[in-house]
């Protein structure tokens, strides 16, 4: 409790400091993210990572306006209108969820604003719906699932049981896994969105004769699944994307997650100076270990700062080129944009370990090297 309160107050101070410097601000950033209700943890991490980078840069010419979308698409659309119409921002960022991004991004970019996505990467925005002003700093949604499929091959799995919630991101997840997985499927299940009991699914896994399990169940769904799976006596190896094994929720899963392999484009032990400094300073500032989302927020801010240093935001072409060049020190090491403005990056396989009292991840190896996405070819920019 204490740590959260402290984190909030420091972030508020940082935001205040930014507004105080508003007089000479040259670049105005609108951040719409989820800060209240379920799923607020992700938005708070993105915001804290982003504000940390802005603070460290010491710049006073970047003003950040932060708003809470409550994870409601209609509120997000409303706030986007406010950012564009009233605040007259130059750049927008912050959205966590794909469905909110789909509601906001097309209209924002159509109005000539830049959008830097710190988390969501729906396929529609990577392929036919790509836009020159839209940059994704995190990943295309399928990426981590594709990496999980690739990892399953290298681990020698031949028969996977796969499951995800019955909604678009869930379908993308299973498609992504199948795109790279070369073995057979022992079963494929869509669960109810928000489902909290997986006994029925686990029974089917047990009966299916699978040799491995792939699942994508973000947030509380993943916590419930892992606890119930660990208790069921089924001991097939599990792979999944990082979302269910992130710093924020790992403590809630506890020992049930130990040893599970998950895929991520970032981890706190990626060996480079930027990352080490980021992990230390984030911990010092907010009193907790940074999460995947915090690293994405941090990278997004640094990308923005690198572009502000090189070009004037009012010169859209120059600013766009500066963003595209992505000349900033990423916490992930090498980072570049593909032609559809989505990352080309390594995706790692990592394992859940325990360090003292804290559950965290350790990198096992690279699952996919310099990986782009499956939709880049459809993007005509």
């Amino acid at each position: 409790m204490k740590t959260t309160l402290k984190a909030l107050s420091t972030a508020a101070v940082a935001a205040l400091a930014m507004t105080a410097g508003a007089a000479q601000a040259e670049v105005k950033v609108g951040m719409i993210t989820t800060l209240s209700g379920g799923g607020a943890g992700l938005g708070i991490d993105v915001r804290d990572g982003f504000m940390l980078a802005i603070k460290q840069s010491g710049r006073t010419d970047i003003e950040v306006v932060i708003e809470d979308d409550q994870r409601k698409p209609d509120v997000a659309v409303q706030l986007a209108d406010k950012m564009v119409q009233s605040e007259k921002v130059d750049v927008m960022t912050g959205i966590i969820w794909s469905n909110l991004a789909m509601a906001v991004v097309p209209s924002v970019t159509a109005q000539g604003k830049f959008y830097l996505s710190p988390n969501a990467g729906p396929s529609a925005l990577a392929g036919r719906g790509c836009h020159e002003n839209y940059f994704n700093v995190a990943w295309q949604n399928d990426n981590l699932h594709e990496a999980a499929g690739a990892y399953a091959n290298s681990a020698g799995y031949g028969k996977s049981f796969i499951l995800a919630p019955n909604y678009p991101a869930g379908k993308d997840a299973l498609t992504g896994y199948k795109r790279f997985f070369e073995g057979d499927l022992a079963g494929e299940l869509y669960t109810k969105l928000g489902q909290t009991d997986y006994a029925a699914e686990i029974a089917q896994i047990r009966a299916s004769g699978a040799d491995s399990v792939f699942f994508f169940l973000p947030g509380g769904m993943g916590i419930a699944f892992l606890k119930q799976y660990a208790d069921s006596g089924v001991d097939l190896p599990v792979v999944g994307p990082a979302f269910s094994f992130d710093q924020g929720i790992l403590q809630a899963v506890g020992g049930a997650a130990l040893g599970v392999v998950n895929t991520s484009q970032w981890n706190k032990d990626i060996d480079n100076a930027t990352n080490a400094a980021f992990v230390d300073s984030f911990q010092a500032e907010y009193g907790r270990l940074p999460s995947l989302y915090a690293s994405q927020g941090f990278d997004t801010a640094n990308l923005l700062i690198s572009a502000v240093e090189k070009a004037d935001v009012s010169d859209a072409d120059a600013f766009r080129a500066a963003l595209k060049a992505a000349e900033f020190d990423s916490t992930r090491g090498d980072f570049a944009f593909g032609d559809n403005h989505h990352p080309i990056q390594n995706i790692y396989a990592r394992e859940v370990i325990q360090e003292g009292d804290v559950f965290t991840n350790k990198i096992l190896g690279v699952a996919l090297e310099n990986h782009s996405d499956a939709y880049a070819g459809d993007c005509k920019m």
Binding site: L8, L35, S36, G37, A40, E67, D68, K72, P73, D74, V77, Q78, D81, K82, Q85, S86, S98, N99, M102, A103, P106, S107, A110, P122, N166, Y167, P168, A169, K171, Y190, K192, L193
Partner: protein
């Protein structure tokens, strides 16, 4: 105490004055917020007909709001991707024309209200609240897994649909359009309340037995009220979708049903302008409190609680005193 008619005129003046001021002060977002309030008000006017006139506590009005929204989403989606809705039994194309979309929204939600009404009105009291809630959940889960139209992601419409003679992309013009519809619905509501049907409905709500003895079927009266109510809320859904240029299953969520009900109650149940006042206050609170604290839901909750516990008859009730039965 203020005369209710005077208050109502004041509210209409406010609905015109605020956007006019925003237009001059170059604050387009205020106009967008006002449009949101007006559309919510329209949805709540719909609910108020079921709730205030018919005494039907429906916790599932988001169904109609969502159906209206999806009517817009689906038609505009097909028009924007140049794909027909269906080629069999006859070719049906999408459209970007608001009047056609509104008509579709009204017809679709009328039909849904008819079916839901016939089934739900077999029950009464708490059962009615619960069965309407359940219908809401059914539609919600269906929309989430309906992958043809985006599932949970919903549908984005890139350009607002058109209305002959207007540029709907200009905030104030779209606001004007919504306001005219709201006023029309209020007019309809006022006429309805004074019509023989409205009087019979009022009697059916208070003493069903008495209505039966004069040969009227109270359930049928309530069904008609429920259907009209659903149709208006459905139209509001289409307008809301066009305001956001976006539809998603959250339009079907039970929280939204709750919010529509909140508008009615804050303003005053059964009061003609209750829904309008409620929606205006709610949108203002959402905007002001949201800026104050991350935990603004707490304050909203406390405020709602105070209104229920101490504010008899909502805001209009507090300002104008008890409703006079025969005006």
């Amino acid at each position: 105490m203020i005369r209710e008619t005077h208050l109502n005129l004041g509210i209409i003046a406010l609905l015109i004055a605020i956007p006019a001021w925003a237009l001059m002060a170059d604050e387009p977002f205020i106009i967008t917020l006002m449009t949101r309030a007006v559309v919510f008000a329209l949805a709540a006017v719909g609910l108020n007909i079921a709730l205030g006139l018919g005494g039907l506590v429906s916790l599932g009005h988001a169904v109609f709001f969502g159906i209206g929204g999806y009517a817009m989403g689906i038609l505009a989606h097909h028009a924007q991707t140049y794909t027909p809705l269906t080629e069999w039994p006859f070719l049906l194309e999408g459209t970007k024309s608001m009047p056609v979309i509104w008509l579709t929204a009204i017809v679709a939600s009328t039909f849904a209200a008819l079916v839901i009404g016939i089934l739900s009105l077999r029950t009464a009291g708490v059962y009615f609240i619960m069965i309407t809630l359940a219908f809401g959940q059914m539609f919600f889960f269906f929309a989430i897994s309906w992958s043809a139209y985006g599932g949970e992601d919903g549908l984005s419409i890139y350009v607002r649909n058109g209305f002959p003679g207007l540029n709907t992309l200009v905030p104030v013009q779209y606001f004007g359009l919504c306001l005219v519809i709201l006023l029309a619905a209020l007019f309809l509501n006022a006429r309805l309340a004074k019509s023989p049907f409205g009087l019979a409905l009022n009697a059916a709500r208070q003493t069903p037995a008495r209505v039966e003895t004069v040969g009227l079927d109270p359930t049928r009266l309530k069904l008609v009220a429920f259907v009209i109510s659903g149709a208006i809320t459905g139209l509001a859904g289409a307008l809301f979708a066009d305001l956001n240029r976006f539809v998603s299953p959250t339009m079907f969520s039970w929280q939204l049903s709750g919010e529509i009900m909140i508008f009615v109650i804050i303003g005053g149940v059964g009061r003609l302008f209750g829904p309008v006042v409620g929606a205006l206050v709610f949108v203002a609170l959402e905007h002001l409190l949201g800026g104050l604290s991350e935990y603004w839901h707490i304050y909203l909750g406390i405020l709602l609680l105070l209104i229920v516990l101490f504010g008899r008859g909502g805001i209009i009730g507090m300002l104008c005193g008890r409703e006079r039965l025969h005006d």
